[in-house]
Amino acid sequence: MRYVVALAQLAPRLGEVDANLELAAGWLRRAAGEGAQLTVLPELALTGYLLSDLVPEVALRADDPRLAQLSRQAPGMLVTVGFVEETDDHRFANSAALLRDGELIGTHRKVYLPTYGLFDEGRFTRPGDRIRTVAVGEPLGRIGLSVCEDFWHASLPMLQAQDGATLLVNVAAGPARAPGSAAGLRAIAGWHRMQDTYALLGTVAVAFCNRVGNEEGLTFWGGSRLLGADGSVLAEGPLYEEALVVGALETDDLRMQRYALPLLADERLELVRRELDRVIAERGGLEPPPEPES
């Protein structure tokens, strides 16, 4: 079955939640017009990226009626949107919400907050401590949400693939480094390689939605992509420009792809966990866990 995915490669306004809600609503209506069944808005689409001490001012609870209202803009459509989440105990996270018809289906709090180089996220938001997938019903099955830097840690998307994800959705706010130069192209090629690899090794579709626009000195590069579970590129957005990037997944293909390439089923999870336990213990200077009885 064809399943249409739209990646809304937009430029949010820094710190203006209400204006961004309105902006996002417009993109969702456009995506509905293109027949999208899932629309992905980028990381921090409702707030902008370089927030610093604006974080508590722009934070929303995941059950905020404004988020529900946003998803009602396109009846029946799944919507993923990035925002600053405030938890009940007042932790502030860089989150992605998954909604449909006003209902919150799932959230993911960015687990890996880059705090190096040009990034300073760990100073203003707290990391999430869950890696899960969300059931969204047929024909898609389950979605594994992640936010930008989460994709630079292969364990996270591979865990989601093992947990049943048929589509990995990564929302991003990736700032360009050395645009136009060989080094800049290498940085973007690095993102492509990751996406290609996760699709291939996870036999899972990948939707990557990266924002555009400019904040302070940073320029966000866009280049959103939709990949099939065989690694084929189904849609790709332009660099640096706003665009609604639309492509269609063929969900019926997954069954035979996973029969032909049974990597997920062949994974030795027990073995991986055992060796991980050993590595964790050794790195901590502890006695390794006992070998299992043979």
Binding site: G117, L118, P175, A176, R177, A178, P179, S181, A183, E216, G217, L218, T219
Partner: protein, 288 residues
């Protein structure tokens, strides 16, 4: 018990504050390899306190205090500046900026036009900066800043004018705290007590121009900034809503004045974005 907490003035501990600032000035000089300071002195409480602090950190011969009147500057200010110089026994110079700024002011328009006051004032403030930096080169000294926290947060200063300095000793002191520090330092009472003024036109006072007393402004800023209160909480604590809103807006509006301008990131390492070092590091100290 259910009464809302009143909005207090910022805490004061002048003696300890002075110790910290004197240590700060000395360490900045040591790190940069300078031995001397230049400070512009208007005769107001901010620059007087800055000069007194410098005098605690340095020998009188290593401090150069520069008075830079314009022809409309109040004679009272000059007399007060003289009081400070006499008390400190430091070096001093008087540079009349009138002939330097008149050609530029002539281009701006008539002196009587109140709508041109801020532009005219900016020219004077920037001319004083030019004099200070030139004298600092001649005297082999750093320029000591005289901006306080209240005016920095309100953006009540001229970018690249009175806000230009190598170091800001009183930049984290609200006006009310600064007054307490000035008294503790021995700044003459007449200077501490007089109405603060940028003296950019006759009869100007800060409180007249800002439309509020420093005490009210400090209570609001201390609540909003230091204690992170919401505007509603400030109002519940008895502060005037329209003034609270004005202050919050003004702080946000003038954020740019407190930051270096953004650099368009092109390369892999960009000054201020991902080329980040301490202001001084091994290898950056000048040879004295």
């Amino acid at each position: 018990m259910n009464e809302p907490e009143a909005a207090p003035l910022p805490e004061r501990d002048p003696a300890q504050t002075i110790d910290v600032i004197v240590g700060f000035i000395r360490s900045q000089l040591a790190q940069t390899g300078f031995r001397r300071l230049v400070v512009g002195l208007s005769g107001g409480v901010d620059s007087s306190a800055a000069a007194f602090l410098a005098a605690r950190a340095l020998a009188p011969d290593d401090l150069l205090v520069i008075r830079m009147p314009y022809r409309t500057s109040s004679p009272g200010s000059e007399a007060d500046a003289q009081l400070v110089v006499d008390a400190l026994g430091c070096r001093t110079e008087r540079v009349d900026i009138t002939p330097m700024v008149e050609p530029m002011l002539g281009l701006i328009g008539p002196e009587e036009d109140p709508s041109l006051r801020v532009r005219r004032g900016n020219v004077m403030a920037r001319q004083r900066m030019i004099v200070l930096y030139d004298r600092s080169a001649a005297f082999d000294a750093l320029v000591l800043g005289t901006s306080n926290k209240t005016e920095a947060l309100l953006g009540y200063g001229t970018l690249y004018g009175d806000m230009a300095a190598a170091l800001q000793p009183i930049g984290d002191l609200y006006k009310s705290q600064l007054r307490a520090v000035a008294t503790e330092l021995g700044v003459p009472e007449r200077i501490v007590a007089k109405p603060p003024s940028a003296d950019l036109w006759p009869g100007q006072t800060d409180e007249g121009e800002l439309g509020a007393t420093y005490e009210d402004l400090d209570r609001i800023l201390f609540a909003l900034v230091d204690r992170r209160w919401t505007q509603d909480r400030c109002v519940a604590a008895g502060l005037d809503r329209s003034l609270v809103e004005w202050v919050a807006h003004r702080v946000a509006q003038t954020e740019f004045k407190r930051q270096l301008p953004p650099v368009a990131k092109i390369s892999l390492r960009t000054p201020g974005i991902d080329h980040l070092y301490p202001r001084r590091r091994p290898g950056s100290r000048r040879e004295s």
